[in-house]
């Protein structure tokens, strides 16, 4: 009797599992291309926004770099006249309250040219999302990569001067991203 019941339950659960699996993979097949496309467009717009004279075709060189830091999602190389002039690092870091911050760090000649935010998840609206404020992100522009190299940055106590008051954890997320990008960039040279 017990065995019969167990088999009955087992079959029921298996059938349920199969239906669920099929349903979800169908929805996934429909939505994934939309999501990926949206991401690609966002990134493309940011790259063109930075400099639309550079050639950004086939700029995703992520797979060609060995031992990439796990938090670096993508690396893009912008070219001018066939030569690479700028490297852009898309980094994911932890911000406030379980959310992730994805930022783009643009580096030319070992100098940080720009930092922009791709997306913030769950950052407190109006407070943490202040990191998306252009005026905050400008403080990174022109700084040398070596200032944000891992070893140096640790000594400077997480660069407390770059932190926005009240949005400490979110801005730490951005600082973290800049450090990761710079460290990776310098190690690749």
């Amino acid at each position: 009797m017990v065995k019969q019941k167990a088999i009955k339950y087992g079959i029921f659960l298996c059938v349920l599992g199969i239906i669920v699996g099929v349903l979800l993979s169908v929805v996934n097949a429909i939505t994934k291309p939309v999501i990926d496309n949206y991401e690609k467009e966002k990134v493309n717009n940011l790259l063109l926004d930075y400099n639309d004279t550079y050639d950004w075709n086939d700029s995703d060189i992520t797979d060609s770099i060995e031992n990439l830091h796990p938090q670096i999602l993508n690396v893009y190389a912008g070219k001018l006249n066939g030569e690479e002039v700028v490297r852009v690092y898309k980094v994911q870091t932890t911000g406030y309250s379980s959310g992730a911050i994805v930022s783009m760090i643009y580096i030319e000649n070992n100098k940080i040219m720009k930092v922009s935010i791709v997306s913030t998840t769950s950052q407190t609206k109006g407070v943490g999302s202040k990191v998306e404020d252009l005026s905050y992100l400008k403080i990174y522009e022109g700084k040398s990569c070596s200032e944000y190299n891992n070893d140096v940055a640790q000594n400077h106590n997480n660069k407390s001067v770059d932190v926005i008051s009240g949005a400490t954890v979110s801005s730490r997320g951005v600082i973290s991203a800049v450090i990761i990008a710079c460290t990776e960039h310098l190690s690749g040279e």
């Binding site: 029921f12 349903l23 379980s98 913030t120 407070v127």
Partner: protein, 247 residues
């Protein structure tokens, strides 16, 4: 006729009498976290409504073939499936809302209201009543979320974000581009969430208690009047008897 009226009650009970947040106080986690802006609250309401509606329908449809011992895991799997679907749909078609709500979309799975309705109602009733029940609960839930979110957003940042760029900016009405100092970001912080919710619950409870007291007093009054009437009648009877005896 009787069927129709009872369907209506299934819907309306979710709004006030059995409002999931005010009365049963379930599903408080997102209530505290999401309500920083009206847009978030409405978005969450939509996602929640979808999951609750679909899972109520499915659970009601299969209620006769689900073996009783494994029903809770089965309900959880069904709810999780619809949550995953909502997650994917939102990430694809409402990406900014999906980013604002963050981890709280998958957390709809463990929202006590959804599992609660599936177990307490959908598993024991037909599809149509279950649909009405789901809709009523969802509307009631969203109403309260919207109320709390509006309070917190207005007091916190002086704006009311209804959807995307449809924003009512009170600061601008007073001619300022920055948040006026009377609006404190305290209400957007976690502490503010607890405070607003605590006060709302306190007010609702106070109203409910005073209503119950009034009801009790009315009942007491009615009983005393009844007693007085009976006593009067008894006295009259006695008088008549005495009269009769006297003659």
């Amino acid at each position: 006729m009787a069927n129709k009226t009872s369907l209506k009650t299934e819907f309306t009970k979710g709004l006030f009498k059995e409002n999931p947040i005010l009365v049963t106080m379930l599903g408080l986690c997102p209530t505290l976290a999401i309500t920083v802006s009206l847009e978030n609250a409405l978005g969450m309401g939509i996602a929640f409504a979808f999951v609750l509606l679909m899972s109520n329908i499915v659970v009601s449809l299969i209620r006769k073939i689900v073996p009783s011992e494994i029903r809770i895991p089965v309900y959880i799997v069904i709810i999780a499936t619809f949550v995953s679907i909502v997650e994917m749909l939102m990430a694809a078609y409402l990406p900014s809302l999906s980013d604002s709500l963050g981890v709280f979309i998958p957390l709809i799975v463990v929202n006590c209201i959804v599992l609660g309705r599936a177990e307490a109602f959908a598993s024991k009733n037909g599809v149509l009543p279950s649909i009405m029940d789901a809709l009523g609960m969802a509307v009631g839930y969203t109403m309260i979320l919207a109320l709390i979110a509006s309070i917190r957003e207005i007091l916190g940042s002086g704006t009311l974000t209804i959807w995307g760029s449809l924003v009512l900016d009170i600061n601008k009405l007073f001619g300022s581009n920055e948040t006026l100092p009377i609006f404190s970001s305290f209400f957007i912080s976690p502490a503010g969430a607890y405070l607003v919710l605590g006060i709302i619950f306190g007010v609702v409870a106070t109203i409910r208690i005073s209503k119950e007291r009034k009801q009790k007093m009315l009942e007491k009054k009615a009983e005393e009047e009844k007693k007085a009437k009976l006593l009067q009648e008894k006295n009259n009877q006695q008088l008549n008897l005495n009269k009769g005896a006297g003659e």
